[in-house]
């Protein structure tokens, strides 16, 4: 047995990552968390609201005059807007909860995921481009997969299903682009 093979084997014995939950079980658990959030707060779960506040906060640090003059961001750029919003703490919680789940299941691993397929540099450029598309799109839709797709649809709002229709159709089409092949 080669050293490399032995090393990989030993690492595997020490911290075999636990498999992901079966999708139906995860879906039911997610539905119960979402239901509890609605009963507790009157609204669902989200994410994008935080990134809008964060964009306004970063703007106030880097370019205060331009941010204060911006019609869209200035109402969200006040002192304490970021730390005084429920969604900020919910996203902090998502990071803590995600870390807790990954760490206790042996799945925390610092990596550039997808770098074997694309190479690290190209993968990171794609991540940046994808983030920009999603950031712009979520502002246009006034919500994201969590806020509109998941929480909006759970209230049976037409808005949630319109969002999900656009999300799946565009995702299916764009993932066929030659740009995203190996």
């Amino acid at each position: 047995m080669s050293d490399q093979h032995f090393g990989a084997h030993a690492a595997h014995l020490h911290a075999a990552p636990r498999p992901f939950w079966p999708p139906l079980a995860a879906g039911i658990a997610l539905g119960l968390v979402l239901l509890a959030t609605f009963l507790f707060t009157g609204h669902g779960l989200g994410a994008t609201g935080f990134f809008t506040l964060a964009a306004a906060w970063v703007g106030m640090q880097a370019a205060p005059a331009a941010t204060a003059a911006n019609e869209y961001l200035s109402p969200m750029a006040g002192a304490g807007a970021l730390s005084g919003s429920w969604i900020t703490w919910q996203v902090v919680g998502v990071i803590l909860g995600g870390f807790l789940a990954a760490a206790t299941a042996g799945r925390f691993h610092v990596q550039v995921e997808g770098s074997r397929k694309y190479g690290a540099g190209r993968r990171l450029l794609l991540a940046l481009a994808g983030g920009m598309l999603a950031g712009f799109g979520a502002r246009l839709a006034t919500g994201c997969t969590s806020g509109l797709g998941l929480s909006g649809s759970a209230t049976l709002a037409v808005a949630g299903f319109v969002f999900l229709g656009g999300f799946f159709v565009a995702g299916l089409l764009v993932s066929r682009l030659p740009l995203l092949r190996k």
Partner: protein
């Protein structure tokens, strides 16, 4: 600062992040595999989650335990929501995540998810700069306030829920078949092994 907001936000967020990571949604490759029709986890997790919450809310409303007005129901703006949803879907196909899942990807050690987060803030800035030109479009195809599928179709929410349960069952059946005809869902080993 309001402590109630902090405790409530943290509590809901921790549970949300814990479940998303366990579903495998911290992995950009797993999320992208949905759009390649190789791994149907996004559908198989999201659809039941929507149904469990929707059935719970409707049941509580029927028993008079929940005031409909107390619930936040978004109002449709057809074109910006369809196009915006499309851009979020395109962003996931290209970059691997959506806003919430990129936070989970970052929390599980993924540098690409952190870069996606930076992109989200940058994309928000681009939107904010373009906003004066987009403001009119933001209400294009505006629907009635708080319109639900039941309102739109003129049927009870229970009829809508029954149809959605049937659609979910169909999706599980066809998605499962497609998963079995290909390489199958992205496993935890694949999701962790890419950077090595």
């Amino acid at each position: 600062m309001d402590t109630g907001i902090i405790v409530s936000g943290l509590l809901c967020g921790v549970l949300f992040g814990y479940v998303l990571e366990n579903a495998g949604f911290g992995s950009g490759c797993k999320l992208q595999a949905q759009f390649q029709l190789r791994d149907w986890s996004v559908f198989k997790v999201m659809f039941p989650a929507v149904l469990v919450a929707a059935i719970g809310l409707e049941a509580l409303r029927s028993f008079g335990l929940l005031q409909p007005e107390s619930l936040y129901i978004p109002t449709t703006a057809l074109w910006p929501m369809l196009l915006g949803g499309g851009l979020v879907g395109a962003g996931m196909a290209v970059g691997g995540y959506c806003p919430g899942t990129s936070a989970v990807g970052f929390a599980s050690g993924r540098v690409d998810a952190l870069v996606f987060l930076v992109g989200l803030v940058a994309g928000t800035w681009v939107f904010a700069l373009a906003f004066p030109g987009l403001e009119g479009f933001m209400s294009a195809g505006q629907g009635p306030d708080r319109q639900t599928l039941g309102d739109l179709l003129g049927v009870s929410n229970w009829v809508v829920l029954a149809a959605l349960v049937a659609a979910a069952a169909g999706g599980f059946f066809f998605g499962g078949r497609m998963e079995r005809s290909g390489p199958g869902p992205v496993t935890v080993e694949e999701a962790l092994g890419d950077g090595r």
